[in-house]
Symmetry: C2
Subunit: 392 residues, 2 copies
């Protein structure tokens, strides 16, 4: 049939066929890096490269770039067959939608020298105007010397437990990132928006006696990275750092992010070392009590709830002059030190508690106007800090 | 404990306790009628009535009102226990959120004569400022003489298959509703926005030799009704019509809607009685071919796809000068009559086909500029009509 096509005299630039589901997965992954609001027209597309060993898809915006590779064969199954190696850039939104909706589980893609792509599957034939792959920017080349590895599930936890605390304001851009410090086989992460802070320290595998390295990775990049990490949790992810880029690499996916410039503030001084009141509570019970108090608190401007200790009881309350008030008593598992009355943002407290998997938390207070610390019981590597709000 | 409360000298206006889940279900149901944008302050609330036989919740806006009843006992289980009958109106958004988040599966509600409601569950206590139930409008009283009954699953299908075709423009308000005609034991429903039409006729059970009745029910009311109908599909729903209201009634739920004024146009003249080309196709294959063509068509202003017959083949295509084109061939199960080229809205075709459960549809064309008809094979009661678009 193809010999009868009107395109028969146009030289072929690329030709391959592959599994629809493999293609759809790869497209979904690289789409996380494609922005419809980019000012660089070529970056509205997905770059498709058919090489000798498989198909590579690339998506990019000014902050992150994602490469997803589909090998010709995997576990003895044929994913793809390449008849002519080559490149094309295809409009990302249309391409990602049409791939998902193709009728057959096999797709043929053929590109001629005019950059016209013919995508066929079953009795459907799309003819799509492509863009010139020569215009597509090259991804950074990163020196592999400082390679550090981490388990995927640990990386996902680490991201979840720190990124929520980054600043959303651009007044101090460096605070929109998470500071990563690698030293002596440990990775220390810190995020703060100057009203709250989260930090976690975990062990990592490092090839060299890795020197001290400090980078600040945009919170938004880490969120996108987390989304494309699949559930093969034991897989190791390689992390490679350069002066202004970081590369996260799994077997078939490469995720590049730019790094943030600027001096990250020294946060260690913020963290109190003593405690005047220490309360141990079940994480979920505390979360749900704050959530209920927040139903009234959020009607007010600042979403503030109050916490008060009395004997071994912890009272959580809030009120709205218009709607009413809510009052709840929790029994602490342990309660040591001075009696306490303190007010804080319900949202900040819920953000922190919702990132903790441990059954119980211990909260360390050093008075109503001093930052307080939340630590899950069972993992000393995690610390969350919140500044209170003056109301009493 | 309650005797020690500071409220002890304030007379009690209402007091009961009930199952949290029963309350949450009822609140969810009546919330469908509550609008946060109402100009009548009392209608931002949910009316709660504790009577001798159970608890009734009421929500209302100017178009629809919903009553949900929780009986004291159901299947031998105690749902509720009433200590003092009475009424209160509670702020709907706060009440619906807090009910879902209460810690215990039992809730106590106590209202004093100052209209302050105390809602307790486990160790949580909400104190909410209520509104005066005397200000809450009375729901219409509807004469039961013209009662018609229909199975719930049939009513849901009927709504789904007609409401999609109502007009969304207020230029002819009567077209935003569905015309219902009850006569001789049948209910005929018609909806049209003047570019497309849908009609379905079903048998109903009627107590009397019901006289001819014609009403126009707002499409939005029917959509909300459909959402609150649970999956007990064999239950019969009573429908009672008055001059300007309709009541849909199940055992524990009453749904009132206003009716639309104005003369509904005679749509029977629109429907062609002859056919020059008749095509029989699998419903889903046709739907998905249109959906794929629409990926390119929707980039253009009017989302138009083309259909062309050739022998027993049906070609679906569309194009966008900027992006490219798509072309697909379907094998018709049957194809009779003249060759045809026609263009139409992909959205209208997908809307119609997605409401059809039958495996196959027959499409009747009487030329490229005449309305065409879609009928599911196996149910003569359903007819959908679409006006084509001139492109050839």
């Amino acid at each position: 049939m193809q010999e009868m096509d009107t395109n028969q005299n146009i030289p072929l630039a690329m030709k391959f066929n592959l599994e629809k589901d493999k293609l759809a997965d790869a497209v979904n992954r690289v789409m996380k890096a494609v922005s419809s609001r980019t000012t660089i027209p070529i970056l509205t597309g997905i770059k498709v490269t058919a090489g000798l060993d498989g198909i590579t898809l690339t998506g990019s915006n000014s902050d992150i770039s994602i490469k997803s590779f589909i090998p010709l064969e995997e576990n003895g199954n044929e994913n793809a067959r390449i008849e002519a190696a080559g490149n094309i850039v295809l409009p990302s939104r249309l391409f990602s939608e049409l791939v998902r909706k193709l009728p057959d589980n096999r797709v043929d893609i053929e590109v001629d020298s005019r950059l016209i792509a013919r995508i066929t599957s079953g009795s459907t034939e799309f003819t799509i105007n492509g863009l010139d792959p020569e215009e597509y920017p090259n991804l950074p080349v990163i020196d592999e010397k400082d390679l550090v590895s981490i388990r995927k599930d640990l990386l996902k936890d680490l991201i979840k437990q720190t990124v929520y605390a980054v600043s959303v304001s651009e007044t101090r851009p460096v605070l929109t990132g998470v500071k990563w410090t690698i030293q002596n086989g440990r990775l220390d992460c810190v995020a703060t928006d100057s009203h709250r802070l989260s930090q976690r320290s975990v062990p990592v595998e490092s090839g060299s006696d890795a020197d001290l390295q400090t980078v600040v990775i945009p919170g938004s990049s880490l969120n996108e990275l987390s989304k494309i990490l699949d559930d093969d949790n034991e897989e190791l992810i390689d992390m490679i750092f350069s002066q202004n880029q970081v590369l996260f690499r799994t077997r078939y996916v490469q995720f590049f992010s730019r790094l943030l410039d600027g001096n990250y503030p020294d946060t260690s001084r913020l963290i109190p070392t003593d405690s005047k009141t220490t309360i141990t509570l079940p994480t979920k019970a505390l979360y749900h009590a704050i959530e209920r108090a927040s139903l009234l608190a959020k009607e007010e401007r600042n979403n503030v709830v109050k916490l008060r200790t009395e004997g071994s009881k912890v009272e959580i309350s809030s009120q709205s002059p218009e709607l009413g008030r809510v009052f709840e008593t929790l029994m602490a598992d342990e309660l040591e030190g001075e009696e306490l009355r303190i007010s804080f943002s319900a949202k900040f407290m819920m953000d922190a508690l919702s990132k903790i998997d441990a059954q119980n938390v211990r909260v360390y207070f050093t008075g109503p106007m001093r930052p307080f610390i939340i630590r899950p019981i069972g993992d000393d590597g995690i610390l969350m800090l919140i500044l209170p709000i003056r109301t009493f």
